[in-house]
Amino acid sequence: MAGTLIIAPTAFVARPTRMSPASAAGSGLLTETSLDPDLAIVQRCLTGDEAAWEQLVKAHVRRIYAVCYRFTGDEAEAQDLTQEVFLRVFRTLRSFRAGEGSFQVWLHRLTRNLLIDHYRRHRAHRATEPLDQQLPLLEERSGATSRTDSLLAGREAAEQLASALQQLSPELREAVILRDLEGMEYREIAAVLRIPEGTVKSRINRGRGELARILRRRRVLA
């Protein structure tokens, strides 16, 4: 039923093909959402095009997995969560409204909600574990001097970083991940987290500061 389509058809009108981007921007018609490269794919998905679903998954799976892995610090959990994210996308794509932001923001918000749910579910379990469980081992392995450069080369660095990120509060963690590891714009992060841009920057500052102190305690940072 066309009436149940939530995405406004006008959002998919390829305005740049009818006028040059410069003139469109000049006339104020070129909205932010009409530039979203995912919109055409999303529309095809909604018509039942399986190839479009595949394209959508392939375009975003790396990023979503990376966010889940950075947030949880566990490969198996990250895989399960990524799978769950895409299952929710399959189920709820029709609730995505093109006028309310880009598909990427919508997808990251969905991922974020899932991650926070996951964090809350496992918080009780984690509270029983020592906060710095891996610290003695890692400190032992690290020399007295900074090994930043050699560590960064491989898997160990990723593990160090993942475990250090786990010690940040989820609010600071998600902000730092989205900005410094996924390279999202501040306004996009603000849209994902539904907080003002100033709060995003404040969280990133605090997150970076705390992370540096954790890494320094572990002698990963000088």
């Binding site: 392939k58 399959f90 029709r94 920057k201 500052n205």
Partner: protein, 203 residues
């Protein structure tokens, strides 16, 4: 510049995205404020560390797992029609369709050999009693035909005649020499492997 104002600019400053006039303002504040200076140093160190962090790649099987679930999990966009299509999807798989076609072909061939040819049906023939009668009739005919076919087989005929011969011999032996020969003269090992029941030899 206050510490709160500095915090608003710190992200851009650490990332090197601040224009010159603001950058000099920030730097002059950092020279005067030890706590802001410490925060800026930490933020820059973490930023540099994170910038060089290796990329995370999902395992290839994850993509396969997710893609595998697309057709099953996609919600029906248009209710009944799509639901029916989703429900029928397993039946429309090439392997299943081919198997189904071969089954129908086999049954039709069997039916043809059994004399169940296609013909026009009248409404009266669809009455349950008539259907049952026809089925009963067909079953009996089939049974009789199968029985006749079995009995007319050469090997069956030979076994039966052999058995008859043996029973005749046993009867003759029992009648002629009761007491003289306790054991009736049995023929050599039967070819068919079927032996007469030893109980029959006992009087």
């Amino acid at each position: 510049m206050t510490c709160a104002e500095l915090e608003a600019l710190l992200c851009d400053y650490v990332e090197g995205a601040l224009a010159l006039p603001q950058r000099s303002l920030v730097e002059s504040h950092l020279r005067q404020c030890p706590s802001c200076s410490a925060l800026a140093a930490d933020a820059r160190a973490a930023f540099e560390f994170l910038r060089r962090a290796p990329a995370v790649e999902p395992p290839p099987e994850l993509l396969t797992r997710i893609l595998f679930q697309i057709p099953e999990r996609v919600q029906s966009p248009s209710g009944l029609r799509h639901g029916l299509r989703a429900w029928l999807r397993p039946l429309l798989q090439p392997r299943f369709a081919m198997g189904m076609a071969m089954t129908i072909l086999s049954f039709s061939m069997l039916g043809r050999f059994a004399g169940l040819g296609p013909r026009q049906l009248s409404p009266a023939e669809l009455h349950p009693a008539r259907v049952w009668q026809a089925l009963d009739d067909t079953a009996h005919r089939a049974w009789e035909r199968a029985r006749k076919f079995y009995l007319s087989l050469r090997v069956v005929y030979e076994i039966q005649s052999q058995l008859r011969e043996w029973s005749q011999q046993i009867q003759e032996a029992a009648l002629s020499g009761t007491g003289t020969s306790p054991e009736p003269s049995l023929p050599a090992e039967p070819e068919s492997g079927k032996r007469p029941n030893p109980g029959e030899t006992e009087p």
